[in-house]
């Protein structure tokens, strides 16, 4: 049975990734915070007495279910109206990038590091945008497999599908991301 300390450490280790993953899915920070909080509470309340080794898998399942529940609630709530945040472009920050580059060029002392930082931010922004554009199952499989560092069997169990499906989803996700980043002249 996980102690309170172990559970706390576990939640601390996953909360940021869980939040970002939820944002990629629902594209709404407030909703993502709610989903992560609900998932944490469910894990703590219903599975707080489970061994620490079982917590990651349980949490992934709970997080996926809470996200699905959120989508279901949204569907019933907005049966007639589209969610406007779905149409928000996350890559319309061209002016900001130019300004950053300009400031970096002005300041010759720090030009290299500022340029690097801008480049890094740009790559991250693009990666996040492309991840958001992936089909749901591909995104889920890819993030669990590589970001949560789960193996194929664990990912399959958490997603409730076969290992073959996980491999296919991951492969397609990698191909799509690689192609999209190459097209923009970026490298991860």
């Amino acid at each position: 049975m996980a102690t309170e300390r172990e559970l706390s450490d576990f939640l601390k280790s996953v909360e940021k990734r869980a939040f970002k993953r939820s944002v990629y899915h629902v594209r709404d920070e407030e909703a993502a915070l709610d989903i992560v909080q609900e998932s944490m509470m469910k894990l703590a309340e219903h599975y707080g007495d489970k061994p620490p080794a079982e917590l990651p898998m349980l949490f992934q399942r709970i997080l996926s279910n809470c996200t699905l529940d959120w989508f279901r609630r949204q569907k019933t709530r907005n049966a007639l109206f589209s969610n406007m945040s779905d149409f928000e472009s996350s890559s319309d920050d061209g002016d900001f990038d130019l300004l950053e580059t300009y400031t970096a060029l002005e300041n010759s002392q720090q030009s290299e590091s500022a340029e690097d930082a801008t480049r890094r931010a740009q790559v991250l922004q693009e990666i996040e945008a492309q991840i958001q554009n992936l089909p749901t199952r591909q995104r889920e499989a890819f993030l669990m497999r590589y970001w949560e560092d789960m193996d194929v069997a664990e990912t399959a169990a958490a997603m409730g599908c076969s290992e073959g499906s996980v491999k296919t989803h991951c492969s397609r996700a990698v191909q799509a991301l690689s192609k999209a980043l190459k097209a923009k002249g970026l490298q991860p």
Partner: protein
């Protein structure tokens, strides 16, 4: 011309995935302060909820243990009877419906028979050889 083995392709895929994951990690580490604070608050709330969950589980197991230890057979017997009661009511209902339907059908047939028997016989019937035969055989 571009022939790479499946193992190599998989290795490249894994490598790419991990590079992306490293980028995402860096992004997650730079979350705004208000978000990290709200996540922390959510974590604290979840841990408090764990206590409630554990206490509830203990209460349930304790009451279950008490019930088995004291072995209150009367309660369990009444519960068993209560669970069987709806089935009994259903069976009784079905039997009642069957009896009522039978009676109704029988009374309908009896009414028709009575109507035929009490009705006046048309004169042509007496000339019918079949009817004469019927009257004879009835004797």
């Amino acid at each position: 011309m571009n022939s790479i083995s499946p193992a190599m392709a998989l290795a490249r895929q894994d490598q790419f995935g991990r590079r992306i994951a490293a980028r995402l990690d860096a992004g997650a580490d730079e979350l705004p302060h208000d978000i990290t604070e709200r996540l922390r608050a959510a974590r604290v709330q979840a841990l408090a909820r764990r206590q409630v969950g554990l206490q509830a589980a203990q209460t349930v197991s304790a009451s279950a243990g008490q019930a088995t230890l004291t072995g209150d057979e009367h309660v369990s017997l009444w519960r068993r009877l209560a669970s069987v009661l709806p089935l009994l009511v259903l069976a009784a209902g079905l039997v009642t419906i069957h009896v009522i339907q039978n009676e109704r059908r029988a009374s309908e047939v009896a009414e028709v028979d009575a109507a035929i028997l009490t009705d006046e016989l048309p004169p042509a019937a007496y000339a019918d050889p079949g009817f004469v035969q019927f009257l004879k055989s009835d004797r």
